[in-house]
Amino acid sequence: MEMIVFSAVAPGFLNFENLMSSTNNFMAVGVMALSMTFVIITGGIDLSVGSMMSLCGVSMGLFWQHGLNIWIAAILALVLGALLGFINGQIIVRTGIQPLIATLATLFIYGSLAMVLAGQGDGSIYGFPQSYLFLGTGSLFRIMPVQLLVFSFLALVFGFVLQRTNYGRRVYFIGNNEAAALYSGVRVQHVKTYTYVISGCMSGVAAVLMGSYFASVRGDMGLNYELTVITACLVGGVNVFGGSGTIFGVVVGAFILGMLQQGLNMLNVSSVEQSIVTGLILIAAVGIQQMSGLFSRRTRRIKKDRMSDLGLVSTGRE
């Protein structure tokens, strides 16, 4: 529907080639939103995704500058991302401090490290080989952007893992009732740590995609991405207190946000008004979800409150 409106008011929006290539602008956000879904469903949050993306991107650039093949460098970036995520996960499960705070701290730390590594010079690394640049800007048969292909593949994998595997079921279980999950033998700490590892790894993937799309990497390439990624998840129907959300919803959420930006750009709506619109949409989308689910939510809330009376769960405010 959004598309129909935009194509009606802004000729050129529905030009198929434009439409497909415009997805290149928000695939990085989409990829990180996929893994953020897991984190949020367990009741956590990862504010450090943008910083991890910067750090992975810069490291990839440095590896490549020191003579490594670009693809090996890219894989190392993914490994590094997983490692950074592992650190996040360990801080959270071992010390029991809140994910919001732990990842706020690592947001600062990773971001700062990325800036230091990128160096003072002109701060960016570029000149990557053409084969790598194809990943970010090329398209198959001139219509299917490679980035979109990668995203679709990842979305299928994540959807499968979340809905069809034991791991996915445990993710939901923890989000719905961590205490019950713990007592029924789920290795809660294990599952939670993995969600952060995956989040780090996907930040690495996002860095590889962005590096290719922009033909360069910078120390601040992931700045301010965290809130956009979280917004995509929430617009896509993931419950910020954990327990519910689907990959399909998040994919739609990411497209709504991405297409919205593109559409508003085409209408020459200034970036200021875009920010207001995005905020309103976020509130309205979640508000309407809330109202339509009011009944089922109310019964659940009573259960949860009773639980917290017993001191069993420590979830966010309902």
């Binding site: 570029y126 360069s216 689907t246 949409i281």
Partner: protein, 349 residues
């Protein structure tokens, strides 16, 4: 999952709202096009062209000044001008804007790049689709644009800043200088600081740079950073800030600490924001170029490029604005101006 229905409802509503808002968005488009549509001069020998002028960031007086200059000549040159940029200096926001301008069929895109390399793929794609690409104020790698409208060379800016400072401290030995830059990754800032270091090393051994701090483009961060560096380096005699947030912040810090006249503050700044500090004597001189003329010149280059009359080297005659040197696909506005009390009062940008 039992929540599927709920999610579906939420998504639908999101779509509905985005539609509604997009509906509200169109009036602003209308006003924009009517504004641009006032060209109506009967003698339209020239074809009307659409030009997008993209600053690094909107909301900075410097870029607003350039926009004013560009608006001044746009009608006369039969240009319908769109001025829009990101709210924070972000390369990725600029890329999505460039892409949408290409899709909308703009003839010329003139951008002040937030990053020399990140914009290159998008700009190259634009050129392949027949859009003319100009950079102004801040360049990208040469292969990604056809012309660069250069406000002043990095050498000119860096050495002017150092020279006015060195003249102020003529004959004094071991003058400690602090630098207040914008962000550690800003390419313009870094190239100017590099030139400043080079000029100091080769010509003014009595100056030396003791620290580089960053204001992150926020006045309060700049003020705190300036105060901290004054306290941490008690012998520091001068602060040079090649950033328009940094100069007033440094001046404010000097006034707050009661060191007016003891610490010399200069840098690159807009006259309108320096008026109060120049009038009360905290700042004696600062450096800038004629910003509205930069916008005007960019429009002339856009027109000539669209008409195919742009010389690759030699001289370029820009209507009433004058004649400018062209070299290596770079149009040079001229040398930076040193502003004093008198010239600051006269400027209105």
């Amino acid at each position: 999952m039992r929540d599927v229905k709920k999610i579906g409802a939420g998504l639908l509503s999101a779509v509905a709202i985005s539609m509604a808002v997009a509906g509200c968005g169109s009036p602003s488009q209308l006003t924009q096009s009517t504004k641009a549509g006032q060209i109506g001069n009967a003698s339209t020998t020239q074809k009307q062209i659409k030009v997008a002028l993209i600053p690094k960031e909107i909301g900075i007086p410097y870029f607003t000044g350039a926009d004013q200059g560009a608006q001044l000549v746009a009608n006369r040159l039969h240009i319908s001008l769109t001025y829009n940029g990101p709210t924070t200096a972000s390369a990725s926001d600029q890329v999505s804007m460039i892409n949408s301008y290409v899709a909308q069929g703009y003839n010329v895109i003139a951008v002040s790049a937030n990053d020399p390399t990140s914009l290159a793929p998008a700009l190259k794609a634009a050129m392949q689709r027949g859009v003319k690409v100009i950079t102004w104020d801040s360049d990208v790698i040469p292969s990604a644009r056809q012309y660069f409208v250069d406000q002043a060379t990095a050498e000119g800016i860096g050495s002017t800043l150092v020279e006015i400072t060195a003249n102020h401290f003529k004959g004094q030995k071991n003058v400690q200088v602090g630098i207040l830059s914008s962000t550690p990754t800003n390419p313009n800032q870094n190239s100017w600081i590099a030139v400043m270091k080079k000029v100091i090393a080769s010509k003014y051994p009595n100056l030396h740079i003791v620290t580089i701090q960053y204001d992150q483009e926020q006045p309060d961060v700049g003020l705190t950073a300036a105060e901290n560096m004054i306290k941490a380096y008690p012998n520091m005699k001068a602060i040079i800030s090649p950033d328009s947030v940094g100069v007033p912040a440094a001046a404010e810090a000097v006034e707050k600490l009661g060191l007016k006249g003891k610490i010399y503050v200069t840098g690159l700044a807009d006259p309108i924001q320096m008026k109060q500090y120049v009038n009360d004597g905290t700042v004696q001189q600062f450096v800038l170029w004629n910003v509205p003329e930069l916008g005007e010149l960019t429009m002339y280059v856009a027109r000539a490029l669209a008409d195919g009359t742009m010389p690759t080297s030699g001289e370029f005659k820009a209507g009433g604005l004058g004649t400018f040197k062209v070299q290596d696909h770079t149009v040079l506005l001229g040398n930076p101006t040193v502003f004093t009390k008198a010239s600051t009062d006269k400027a209105n940008y």
